[in-house]
Symmetry: C2
Subunit: 329 residues, 2 copies
Amino acid sequence: MATIEDVAKLAGLSRSTVSRVINNHPYVTDRKKQLVYKAMKELEYYPNSSAQRLRKQRTDTIAVLVPRLTNPFFPFLIEGMEAIAVKNNLQLLICQTQQDKAKELNFLNLLKTKQVDGLIFTSIENEWATIASYQEGGPVLLCNEYKSEAKIPIIRLDQIKGSYIGARYLIEKGHKRIAYCGGMKTELGADRQKGFMNALREHNLEISENWIFRDLHSIECGKKLLREILAMEIRPTAVFSGSDEVGAGIIKEAKSLGLRIPDDIAVLGFDDQPIAELMEPALTTIRQPIKDMGKKTMEVMVSMLANEIKNNEKQVFELPIELIIRESV
Amino acid sequence: MATIEDVAKLAGLSRSTVSRVINNHPYVTDRKKQLVYKAMKELEYYPNSSAQRLRKQRTDTIAVLVPRLTNPFFPFLIEGMEAIAVKNNLQLLICQTQQDKAKELNFLNLLKTKQVDGLIFTSIENEWATIASYQEGGPVLLCNEYKSEAKIPIIRLDQIKGSYIGARYLIEKGHKRIAYCGGMKTELGADRQKGFMNALREHNLEISENWIFRDLHSIECGKKLLREILAMEIRPTAVFSGSDEVGAGIIKEAKSLGLRIPDDIAVLGFDDQPIAELMEPALTTIRQPIKDMGKKTMEVMVSMLANEIKNNEKQVFELPIELIIRESV
DNA sequence: CTGAAAGCGCTAACAT
DNA sequence: ATGTTAGCGCTTTCAG
């Protein structure tokens, strides 16, 4: 493989000049520029990116930590991020944590080993205190999930409001016994539950402990949840399902058991993913502006790389969330 | 940031020795090893990956070109690849071509600039002749889509057989007028159509040109396709839809127009993605062993990196394909 | 078993 | 406007 030296020799110039044309620096005569181009072409020269990175102390790469790509939420989020990244000549390194603490920590080393210039969390597995120490490696920011202790930019939705309007809608439709499905390990999960509870409290409704389901994410989980509900003596009449996947599973299982939706049981989704609209009945759900959130996140990252936004300053960017009314409630 | 030099000084040793312990070389006294570990910890030292790459002339990274991550087929494929990659200390660089020729070509430069050691195509936008010249940069292989001219390993399914068994099943169910949906730009698309046609020919059936649909991929496309079919004078009674997304769109639209499936129109999907089972009626489809294909692909890549499989030798690995009978046919 | 030294390929002062 | 030079941080001969 040809090196910059080979190009310089063939063009009869110095390495510096070749480097200048590679990097589009000014002050190079057109004539010499052509000479360089010709030599590069002749030798099929391509700059070695490791050498460039080592020398420039910059990789123009951003790590994006996601739990898994098979959850369609994240590909959409990435699509938004990438749209802005390409405009700024940044490359994304997509890292699947598989919800594994050790893997997440491992990916943080990308920052320490200078393999990436910045890092974006879209989910958080470890304690924030553990993660915080990695910040020296470069800009770190939070998208989607968040920790209020984190002194960094956060791009998120108002989850309290989201679940509040969802729950209120269920109540307005006459439901008094509503099951809730959502995690409590994350702050996002806690906020969602808070919003849900706020709506219930406003209407003097209560929720019994066994109507609360934790850590359900998949279609299968939704099916199982429905079966559990059906086995209860006092059954909820509606489920706040926390994700469109779980909601879809509930609907699917309900129908195969001969239940009518929303008459026998109402289902509210979360996210507004493609399946929401495909279900029969179509899933009423809470829409998150996923792609916009991705875009905004990358815009903030770009600003941080340009030092326009400080690394260690808390700053919350909140995007709107809305209820999409279909047929399942 | 601390460098290897700092660690060496603090430990009272040479850079070479420190490097040896970083890379787990034999022949380092335990005592000195401990000294090094202690110093590394004290200085919070992490090796600079650009420097390592430059020196080792290796990145332990494989580029994976996919059209887009929002098509759920690809996240599953990647999941399979990654399972094998992590076991072999390889990192994946996931690249979305967005089905753009120029973007695809651009990603090929990752090989020339030595940013990755190998590259995997899961879709192909450019002519093979254009792509072939990039092979010098390192192992290149084809997964899912293929070009028979390509003199490299190919991991694929028997698409001719897949669509043949699908079409035969439709015929066995009594359908004589079957619409076909699929691309012709790729060899994969051509093979699928070939298998489909084979089945028709065996049963002396014909297909009229306007029952053939091209380049449909999304749910929306499926909906539109159904409307077009309904506007025809002589309507097909079944659709070979080429993907579960398109199939789902057809079903959704059919139901909202009050048609019964499969009585009024039968639908056959392709892939067996999660939505296939969720649809009402559930989608009969042709299952591709996506995850296994990903795994096999990465296994072959590992062999190529170890020079166990030659770079420029054609070799086809074919995985099984099967019909999943549900309710839509 | 350990250290000295060379150099991977590139860019950016600095000098002219 | 161009060339000279000094590294970026690391690994790997080679010697001992």
